[in-house]
């Protein structure tokens, strides 16, 4: 890599828009004899011209719309951050409710007494205790899923 000691000076002159008219005669003479600096000038001048033309031609939209969009997004993010612990609490409550429901069902479907009667009724209708438990759980879970989905939306 061959780099000239005057390349920084040339780069500054180009960026400031002083090339070639406001550049010193000494610098112009150097560029005409230095390959690296000539390349730098060729590339730098092309970029400066292009940038000036593009910047001039660009029509901008109102910044208010972006401001409003940013505010909306920031508030949405903040609300999501706040509602995350609430979501956790809801899930915990649902799991606890499910455990209680399963325990209660287990208690009902045991042999003897009221439980035995209920069991015999279920068997009379062709429902095995296991199927009854699964159906009841499915109904419960279905309600939970519907609730959580609607709440998320």
């Amino acid at each position: 890599m061959i780099s000239c000691s005057r390349s920084d000076e040339i780069q500054k002159t180009l960026t400031a828009g002083r090339w070639p008219l406001a550049a010193s005669a000494d610098l112009r003479e150097h560029v005409s004899g230095c390959r690296s600096c000539a390349e730098l000038v060729r590339v730098g001048a092309a970029f400066q011209q292009d940038r000036a033309a593009m910047v001039q031609a660009k029509r901008l939209d109102s910044p208010s719309l972006l401001w409003w969009r940013a505010q909306l997004r920031r508030r949405q993010a903040a609300l999501e951050k706040v509602s995350r612990p609430m979501w956790g609490a809801q899930v915990t409550a649902m799991v606890l409710a499910l455990c209680v429901a399963v325990g209660f069902l287990w208690y009902l479907l045991r042999d003897g007494g009221l439980q035995g009667t209920l069991r015999s009724v279920m068997i009379g209708f062709g429902i095995t205790p296991l199927l009854g438990m699964v159906t009841l759980l499915a109904v419960l879970m279905g309600g939970v899923v519907v609730y959580l989905t609607l709440e998320r939306e």
């Binding site: 890599m1 780099s3 780069q11 180009l14 960026t15 390349e39 730098l40 060729r42 590339v43 730098g44 001048a45 092309a46 970029f47 400066q48 011209q49 292009d50 940038r51 033309a53 593009m54 910047v55 660009k58 901008l60 939209d61 910044p63 208010s64 972006l66 401001w67 969009r69 940013a70 505010q71 997004r73 920031r74 508030r75 993010a77 903040a78 609300l79 951050k81 706040v82």
Partner: protein
Amino acid sequence: MTTIWPQAAPAALNEAVTAELPMDNGAFAGFYERTARPLWAYLARSSGDQALADDLMQESFVRFLCADAPTDGDVEARRYLFRIASNLLRDHWRRPVAASIEDMPEMAFAAADTTAGWDARAQLAPALASLRPRERQMLWLAHAEGYSHREVAEIMGLGSASIRLLLFRARRKLATLLEKGGRA
């Protein structure tokens, strides 16, 4: 119905709803006026797609406002904005799409500036099309925006040690192309 808002609302929720942006509307309007056009030019030339540049420019400003961007100085804020835009460009190029930006710039660049005549600017567009996106980005930042090697490295997320060599090679490649009239 009993109104509980805002007195009984949890403090965190209240804070969330009234979340303020780091820059007020007036300050942002001034910053936008000063930086939007150069940012758009950078995105348009790096991507070769003006519609994409429009989208990425808007997204850059929204992300800039949503992030806790440095607002104490224009130079810092501007550099931060260019970094966001560079990340968005990189994400765009990484996304697997049928019409990748890597495949299209030649046509996109050739279509632009056909009326500009045979000057350096007219040669620049087709010459840039022959370069890799990363080369276009670093050349634009260094030569159009006037950023130092360290700043270019910071904006593009590259090591500052390698940027000097990468930039030198890209510049040599582009200078050769410009010498030939912009065509590879």
